[in-house]
Symmetry: C2
Subunit: 200 residues, 2 copies
Amino acid sequence: MAISTKKIARKAQIQAKAVSLFSEKGYNASSMRHLAENMGMEAASLYNHINSKQDLLHEICFSIAAAFVKQLDELEKSNQTEVEKVEQIIRFHIQMMLEQFEKMYVSNRDWKHLKEPYLSAYVGERRNYEKRFSAIIEKGIEKQLFAERNTYVTVLTILSAVRGIEFWHKSKKRISAGELENELTSLLMAGIINTRQVPI
Amino acid sequence: MAISTKKIARKAQIQAKAVSLFSEKGYNASSMRHLAENMGMEAASLYNHINSKQDLLHEICFSIAAAFVKQLDELEKSNQTEVEKVEQIIRFHIQMMLEQFEKMYVSNRDWKHLKEPYLSAYVGERRNYEKRFSAIIEKGIEKQLFAERNTYVTVLTILSAVRGIEFWHKSKKRISAGELENELTSLLMAGIINTRQVPI
DNA sequence: GGAATAAACTAACAGTTGTTAGTTTTGCCA
DNA sequence: TGGCAAAACTAACAACTGTTAGTTTATTCC
């Protein structure tokens, strides 16, 4: 028990360093020897704990994907208005960008370097997420809570805008995390909310 | 004359292929041998026309940057309202994403692999662009044309949202380029326009 | 304390990387 | 048609890549 716990801990350390390294250099420009150096060991020793470099990327991308799916699962069960739901999705994305920055950064940027069949699985998960998100938006439009906009453009814009926090992250001075969350959320919500008509 | 024209043409061919290759695989995962194969020649032959792989990336990033600076130069000279100016900036960014997709894609994604001193120069240009864009937004807020939002968040959101077209590009079916431009522009403008008060 | 196992090591593999040097072929102009 | 330069070629370089095999050192358990 103690043994396997320790082994897992060491593996987790490697994964954490990999996240940092990948986020700094990019997946392809990060070598196992460099990762090993960061860990204070030889490259070959890494393979006592992990299976491959690819596995490290896999873990990063799929753990992030799982977190978003989980949040959406819970949200769909709740009986909030579509306005509240969308706001919560936006805030969750922002929080993920803020709290798991490096992992999000790598996942957003380097998922293309996943190999099959994981690449297809990842793309599939992403598509599915977008579909479920779109469904919420469309229901909101039906109820006239949201303005009549192209749903795909709306979803695309929200997801991309939040991803833009990656630029903010390097110049935190100008605005705090809390302010950023509120400002960005309200800016995005202002773009989609129906201002012309009182909802039914 | 004819000779140098031809040489330039060949160089341009290589650069064009490099854009495609980099956009498909990423800068680091693209090898000169692979690029040469696409050109129907040996890797070493490329060096009759170009100086280095790095130069190819440099050309991509800085030609894009120059295009944006040029557009902003012209826009600043004009005497349109800030609303019109911002809308034009948004539309220009969208058009660049649509018309120069691969170049934009590489530039947005791989500029980090520029080496010094070009990396710093590039970052500097980008910062400068954001400042000038911010100045327009702030003037619009002063005039109460725009809602009172954090300028930095606004600029960040616009730039990031437009970048999101990279996802759209692979699934053109759902909406045409023209519609996309109009929908995205109006969505973003709706987020920043002042709806509470008639502007002076 | 001795056996067992985990986790580090060294050495090497087979392949790829960007780039250079030197040579041969190609195409144009006199 | 001969000469010259452009642009292709082959061969090679030194470095680096992810990963495996085999060995040695640390740690844990009875």
